[in-house]
Symmetry: C2
Subunit: 289 residues, 2 copies
């Protein structure tokens, strides 16, 4: 019997990663598509899958907010995203119709979390938080391999944290909240504050401040969610030394109130930039087999 | 057949509430015991239950931190509490031994949450957060009637929130973190900041600031946990108008980023000061019947 194949899409604000695989953590075909307008981008996604082996079903990990409530009229939609042209996009429905297969939609971070749980850095964790620090800041709580949903998906980028003295002159860039976590510590926030793209910044005080904000967010998640592990991905985390600085500042922030595991094993980097697409394929294989 | 009876204890830093009931939300016998030293307090608890009808089992909702990990050598203990004389108290084991019944230990807020879910303000909620604002600040997430545990129980009082300008002269009283949520907004923090007991303070700016801190914590829990509902109890919440002020400030803090239910039905007061002891009885009846 031939092995069944599933499709996975990581729908990002900058690019879409599409891949075909069997749900075991390997990829047989993969492409990246720049995110332009809805019609052009989704057509390129459809073209990729049509050129490949038939897939049984499709998993989609998308930037958000997304509507994951099956009883909602907007179920399967990217809803009121600030990303121009993408608000109220029926990403699940459009791809199902064009490809003739069923699709399952999740947030990008929840798919990345599934990828890390089954194939990456979180295989031993019963309960962990996956965080991305990039164009935005998002996170997902994965319990026994399943993304946790409350009244909706998590929005950890919009928690409020102390606005550190060093950053006092900067008001934050979130269009809803100014100085929430994402408004202070996302890639675009770093660039807006310092006037230089994050990848070109070497000044230690920049990364010291960034580590402080991320560590404060981790402190708050420790207290609110008590995960066994944090896995952190996203472009900003490519900065050498940043994860070590975050660990040290988290230690300072907790200040012995709780007994944490060794920080090197408690706060770890994402295992692969393909974790979300691998998780999306796994999600399709397990829920729409 | 006679109805089975169960014991419930809310172990608080100021008083212990003990009650006997059948697990249906009614209480047949109840007492309050001042919290003094471990020996005297637990003896009074034992005396109460021995004077009453035989109980099948006992539920205990305790102040913390408590060790809820069955594989830990300190399972069933109040661990490193700052409360003098109470650190490393085997509350579950002692009461089991003295009363000759099995006991189940939970946090006080998780028991209060169970009480609110089955008999109180959260009966319709699939997923909600119970918060107490009193001598300390704590919270529990209840999912389908069961307290959520990650690597341990939640410690929401120790999240970090922006230290508002109005409070800048006050450094906070948490012995671990100074100006964490509990260090800024618990009853003792209010008293330390203003030099007056909370129940005697009427100045609007005091309650304005308190509402800001609690609303910021709710904002962070909305983003990190996405509950369907908040139920808030604890002595500080007895202040008239406080919950209304918290709702208004939460609205401002979210600022339209998420669609919340009407705030009057989303942030509600605890239904009863006996919610924790009712929840403890229910927990005993459902897990140790």
């Amino acid at each position: 019997m031939e092995e069944k194949l599933y499709g996975g899409v990581e729908a990002g604000g900058t690019k879409f990663i599409c891949a075909v695989g069997s749900g075991d953590g390997t990829i047989v075909s993969r492409t990246e598509i720049p995110t332009t307008d809805v019609g052009q981008t989704l057509q390129a996604v459809v073209d990729f899958f049509k050129q490949n082996s038939a897939i049984v079903s499709l998993g989609i990990g998308s930037f958000g907010p997304v509507d994951l409530n099956p009883s909602s009229p907007q179920f399967g939609f990217i809803t009121h995203t600030p990303k121009a042209g993408w608000a109220n996009t029926d990403i699940k429905g459009s791809l199902e119709k064009s490809l003739g297969v069923s699709a399952v939609l999740e947030t990008d971070v929840n798919c990345a979390g599934i990828g890390e749980k089954f194939f990456g850095a979180a295989q031993a964790a019963h309960n962990f938080v996956y965080i991305t620090v990039g164009t935005g800041i998002g996170g997902g709580l994965i319990i026994d391999g399943v993304p946790y949903h409350g009244a909706g998906h998590l929005e950890i980028g919009h928690m409020r944290i102390p606005h550190e003295p060093l950053g006092d002159g900067f008001s934050g860039i979130c269009s809803f909240h100014k100085d929430c976590l994402e408004g202070l510590a996302s890639g675009p926030a770093i660039e807006a504050r310092w006037g230089i793209k994050p990848q070109d910044i070497t000044a230690p005080e920049v990364w010291e401040l960034e580590a402080t904000y991320i560590a404060t967010a981790l402190n708050n998640l420790v207290m609110s969610v008590r995960p066994e592990l944090f896995v952190i991905g996203g472009g900003v985390m490519n900065r050498g030394g940043l994860i070590e600085a975050i660990r040290a500042k988290l230690q300072t922030s907790i200040n012995g109130y709780l007994d944490l595991p060794s920080l090197e094993s408690y706060v770890v980097p994402a295992s692969s930039p393909d974790n979300a697409v691998l998780g999306a394929i796994k999600l399709a294989a397990t829920t729409l087999a």
